[in-house]
């Protein structure tokens, strides 16, 4: 099935590598425009309060201040990223709903004046009772955060496929476990920033974004502008991970400030404000029940979840659906029930973070599955092999799986890690664990309802044939999509990567693309690029045919040389043909667009989780636990991925390392903490502990042979998949090392220490009662542990 490719499949250097390492690459915060002002947003100090009065007169009087705005100066239209729940205003009108909610904004001549002016804005609040826990927020009499949502329920999902009760009744063993995830934040190193210029009826926004398109759509909607009058330009972006998918107050407030002052306005969040803006991972309370037969085959699963959504919806509806939808991908079972309630609280709004809703439920499920395996006396790896999904199957929630090499991923991880020699045989304090994962290669449906293609591309060959420029709306946020798409363009045209240029993610100069989320670009943007490249090649071969007096179908083009098939010595260059094309026919342009096929079922929420293709991964990790302190050292991790055909191996393994890094951080270290008044205790990189280089283990990233029929050249996703198994994988390795199970994330040293102490105490009292002990059957043992 595989061809001998000239450009793809090779670890070419990143197209922006040189400008980034030399500091030439300009991020939004680096840009300066003549007459530019600096803007900043005033936010709420209270988690829940009524706004009684805002007095901006003193701030306006401060020399250097050019504009001060509140809700009175901006459109009152509610916005959001999920159309089903538009619940945010540019500035709060009647009340604030979390510490950090947006109240007013200032534009002034410099940073210093802006900060001074913010302090001069007087806001009178009537402080209201606040609620910070989703279960308390659902109780009768809890503070009402949004009037439209009784009991603070933002989203409620009840899905049932097959018959779970019947499956449990027929099962040999049924077990329930309960887990709790934590709030985490994406923590991109580059802060959010935007420069807005409203000139002559047209609004231009330079911004750090994952999706110029959604920014353009929502900004235009908010201001009642035709989309053509809004230009969103992505600069270099220093990481997004889901947190820069939706417009922030920076774009909206900046636009209004620019319109009022007639000057460009640069707005930015500092680190603390980034944490308050949030849109990071939801805290989820996850109860999982499954029934298995005597051999460990899963018969049915019930996932019953509650998530803390924070004060607004953000992408949370999708997160809520994803949390359950993606549990069905990895293991083959027919009966599935998913219940979920997403609840408003007076905390920063949660959204999509790498892996979207999937990593925490996956942690819960992979831990749960290990415990089921233990109850039955089955090796955890064997348990996964027995249940692993097969290619060309359909999940109970009607996702169509084409390529799937999960079994081979597990087998290869087993070989690489030496599982058989290690499992149960490592010295005390050392353990090995396994978990698997799967992720979409692009969402089957866009975030708002539209029939636009998901991706589009134009390739323009330079008039003298010396270069070709790819114009794409695809959004490189550091992951390397510009590089990969240029490789794909060169491959499709028969050109060379080294002569590719790219203009990307500018809504005015590049064709539409939904952007960087849901791991979509290699497959979806790639499909559009491939089509555009093939269109160039077709026109070029026709021209070359005329020039060479050969029928075009006799010709091929590879690495910049057009030659007669079977007689490569008869050739002309790509450049010669391209130049001649321009002389005779005008610009040489190729166009492409991609729309996924109709996917998924018809039940409520059926769209979330659909994708043309799914990646699969198995991860094994080996940890060492300090028995006295609970300190966890991850010694080594083996990640084996099925991500279809690989376009750039170096970038692919970089994505695996990065995803694993984030998964590691969420496993052991990261958690956003709040005080009793809803203020963030650790909104900084000192106390919100991202792992450092010194914390990283040795990583082996390996691939299995795989080809995805739905992707261009057989590609699938890799960017988020490797985040998903990590938390469960570590938890299982810790169990193997010490025989303790930590039921909440992160798996901190102190939690491990506490669990070890409890186990020592339990072992001690058990030893004293040894004489009367009667062994329990697996069922009894399991049902006894109803955590």
């Amino acid at each position: 099935m595989r061809d001998n490719y000239a450009v793809i499949g090779k670890s070419v250097p990143k197209i922006d590598g040189r400008v980034k390492v030399t500091g030439q690459a300009k991020y939004t915060g680096d840009l300066k425009f003549p007459n530019m002002l600096v803007g900043k947003i005033l936010t709420s100090p209270h988690p829940h309060a009524r706004i009684l009065h805002i007095d901006t007169t003193e701030a306006e009087r401060l020399p250097g201040v050019k504009a001060v705005i509140t809700h009175k100066d901006v459109p009152p239209l509610k916005y959001g990223i999920s159309p089903a729940r538009w619940d945010e205003n540019i500035f709060c009108i009647d009340k604030v709903r979390f510490v950090g909610d947006k109240v007013a904004a200032v534009a002034a001549v410099d940073d210093e004046t802006v900060y001074k002016a913010l302090k001069l804005i007087k806001v009178d609040y009537e402080v209201l009772p606040a609620v910070f826990d989703p279960i308390e927020a659902m109780a009768e009499g809890a503070p009402q955060i949004h009037d439209e949502y009784p009991r603070n329920i933002n989203t409620e999902i009840h899905q049932h496929f097959g018959d779970v009760e019947k499956a449990f009744a027929q099962a040999y063993h049924v077990r329930t476990d309960r887990f709790v995830g934590q709030r985490t934040y994406q923590s991109p190193i580059e802060p959010h920033s935007a420069i807005s210029m409203w000139e002559g009826g047209k609004l231009t926004v330079y911004t750090s974004t994952q999706s110029p398109h959604y920014f353009q759509y929502y900004i235009a909607r908010q201001f009642g502008l035709p989309m053509g009058d809004v230009r969103v330009v992505k600069t270099f972006v220093g990481g997004g991970f889901g947190g820069k998918l939706e417009p922030t107050g920076l774009e909206f407030a900046g636009a209004v400030l620019s319109r009022l002052t007639g000057r460009p306005v640069k707005m930015f969040y500092d680190r603390h404000e980034m944490f308050a803006h949030n849109r990071g991972r939801h805290r989820q309370i996850m109860e999982i029940t499954s029934g298995v037969d005597r051999d460990g085959k899963i018969l049915g699963v019930h996932a019953n979840f509650i998530m803390d959504g924070g004060a607004y919806t953000s992408l949370g509806i999708a997160t809520a659906y994803y949390a359950g939808a993606m549990l069905t991908l990895t293991y083959d079972f027919a009966n599935y029930k998913f219940d979920m309630i997403r609840v408003y609280t007076n905390l920063p709004a949660c959204g999509a973070q790498r892996g979207h809703g999937a990593p925490q439920p996956r942690y819960a499920f992979e831990c749960h599955l290990d415990m089921v395996a233990q109850d039955l006396g089955i090796d955890p790896l064997e348990m996964r092999l027995r249940n692993a999904r097969k290619p060309n199957t359909i999940t109970p929630n009607q996702f169509k799986i084409n390529s799937c090499e999960l079994e081979e991923c597990i087998q290869q991880a087993r070989r690489l890690s030496g599982w058989d020699a290690k499992k149960g045989k490592l010295p005390r304090g050392r353990g090995i664990g396994i978990a698997v994962g799967s992720f979409v290669s692009g969402a089957g449906y866009p975030i708002y309802r539209t029939n636009l293609p998901h991706a589009a591309a134009i390739i323009k060959v330079h008039e003298d044939g010396s270069a070709a420029t790819l114009y794409t709306g695809a959004t490189d946020i550091g992951q390397g999509s510009d590089t990969v798409l240029c490789q794909m363009a060169a491959e499709a045209m028969g050109f060379v990567y080294e002569r590719m240029k790219i203009v990307a993610a500018d809504t005015e100069t590049t064709p539409h693309d939904f952007g960087a989320y849901a791991s979509r670009q290699t497959l979806m943007s790639g499909a559009a690029v491939k089509q555009a490249g093939e269109e160039v090649k077709k026109q070029l071969l026709a021209m070359a045919g005329e020039m060479m007096q050969v029928a075009p179908e006799e010709l091929d083009c590879r690495e910049g040389v057009i030659f007669v098939k079977g007689r490569p010595e008869v050739n002309i260059t790509f450049g010669e043909a391209a130049r001649e094309f321009f002389v005779r026919k005008g610009p040489l342009i190729g166009r492409g667009a991609y729309t996924p096929p109709t996917l998924g079922g018809t039940f409520r929420g059926a769209a979330v989780g659909t994708s043309p293709a799914y990646s699969f991964a198995a991860q094994i990790s080996e940890v060492e636990v300090d028995e006295e302190t609970g300190e966890i050292q991850v010694k080594e991790v083996w990640d084996v991925h099925d991500c279809g055909t690989v376009i750039n191996p170096a970038l692919l393994h970089g994505q695996v390392h990065g995803a694993l890094y984030m998964g590691m951080g969420e496993s052991v270290w990261e958690e956003v903490l709040f005080d009793a008044s809803g203020r963030i205790l650790n909104p900084n990189l000192a106390e919100y502990r991202l792992p450092t280089a010194l914390d990283m283990p040795k990583i082996t990233s390996a691939l299995v042979d795989s080809f995805e029929p739905a992707g261009p050249w057989g590609v699938k996703e890799v960017g988020e998949g490797a985040t998903i198994p990590t938390m469960g994988c570590y938890a299982n390795a810790i169990y193997d090392a010490m025989g303790i199970r930590v039921y909440s994330l992160p798996l901190t040293y102190e939690k491990v220490w506490r669990a070890l102490r409890e186990k020592r105490n339990a072992d001690f009292s058990q030893n004293r009662q040894m004489a009367e002990a009667v062994p329990a059957t697996p069922d009894e043992a399991a049902r006894g542990d109803g955590r």
Binding site: Y115, L118, K119, A276, T629
Partner: protein, 302 residues
């Protein structure tokens, strides 16, 4: 122990408040300026603590007196009969890379190496680490264990006191507002080993949840002298004297070290905060005390 928590009201500035700036060329001149300006002036060395506190408006000094032009404060040297001298303006990386420390007290260089991250170690200073008096600071435990003295210079002259007597509470020391800490002296001594073990929640850029330093004199497997200093488990670094007393005069054994650990754990006064609970800290003191003793006994000054 009061932890400095950077909680901001929504919208409050993260911008340096206005201040006057002085950079004198001698200690005397600096002291004179400080005396003149009164309590509203602060000494600026590396600024890794002070400037952040100022940005969060936890301190709003009217003036900063920078030590950057006082070169003499940045030396590390050895003076016969006095001991090893660390200038207050030495950076943590100066300690990390000091050949003198490597030869005599590698334990001090290692303690400095465990601090913060490379960027902070390149600019943060020894004097700043002491004068800021953060209970979790990494240098005080090992320096106190080695019997270090500090020199304070003020308009009226200089005084020297044991570092152990320097701290009075979180962020509090005996230093007067017009005094400058100029040097730390590690006196010549007969100790055979010393070490500092830091327990942080990641490998780099983490404050100590607990830090334990031990210095011992061991002759033919008998402990003649022992100093154990605990960090981050009381308002100031504290000596674990009950543990020390249990050790002196006894032959090294696993049980003895475990007992010393239990005594140290009993003596400390930890609090719960966002990094760890008090009970976890207390148990870590037990574990790290015996481990630091073991290491100082077996491996020398490491």
């Amino acid at each position: 122990m009061r932890m400095v928590r950077f909680i901001r009201e929504g919208g409050k500035a993260m911008y340096l408040p206005d201040f006057n700036y002085y950079c004198p060329h001698s200690v005397q001149e600096a002291c004179a300026i400080l005396a003149d300006l009164g309590a509203g002036a602060k000494v600026l060395a590396g600024g890794t603590d002070l400037l952040i506190k100022m940005k969060h408006e936890l301190v709003v000094p009217k003036a900063l007196v920078s030590l950057k032009n006082i070169r003499s404060l940045a030396d590390i040297g050895y003076v016969e009969g006095k001991g090893l001298i660390l200038g207050a303006r030495c950076t943590h990386n100066d300690l990390v890379n000091s050949t003198l420390l490597h030869q005599r007290y590698l334990s001090v260089a290692e303690a400095a190496h465990q601090m913060a991250n490379n960027q902070i170690r390149n600019i943060g200073t020894v004097g700043g680490n002491l004068v800021n008096a953060v209970p979790s600071a990494d240098l005080p435990p090992i320096l106190i264990a080695l019997g270090a003295q500090v020199t304070l210079v003020g308009p009226g002259g200089e005084r020297t006191l044991p570092l152990e007597q320097f701290f009075t509470g979180p962020g509090q020391t005996v230093i007067a507002h017009d005094e400058i800490l100029t040097e730390v002296v590690i006196p010549d001594q007969s100790t055979t080993g010393s070490t500092y073990i830091k327990f942080g929640l990641r490998r780099s850029g983490a404050l100590a949840v607990v830090g334990v330093a031990a210095a011992v004199t061991v002759v033919e497997r008998v402990i003649r002298e022992a100093r154990i200093v605990l960090g981050a488990v009381a308002p100031t670094p504290i000596r674990a004297r009950e543990a020390e007393e249990r050790l002196v005069g006894n032959a090294v054994s696993t049980e003895l070290l475990e007992e010393a650990g239990i005594r140290a754990a009993t003596a400390c006064k930890p609090i719960s905060d966002i990094r760890a609970s008090a009970e976890y800290r207390r148990d870590l003191v037990r574990v790290l005390t015996k481990r630091s003793l073991r290491r100082a006994i077996e491996q020398g000054h490491v």
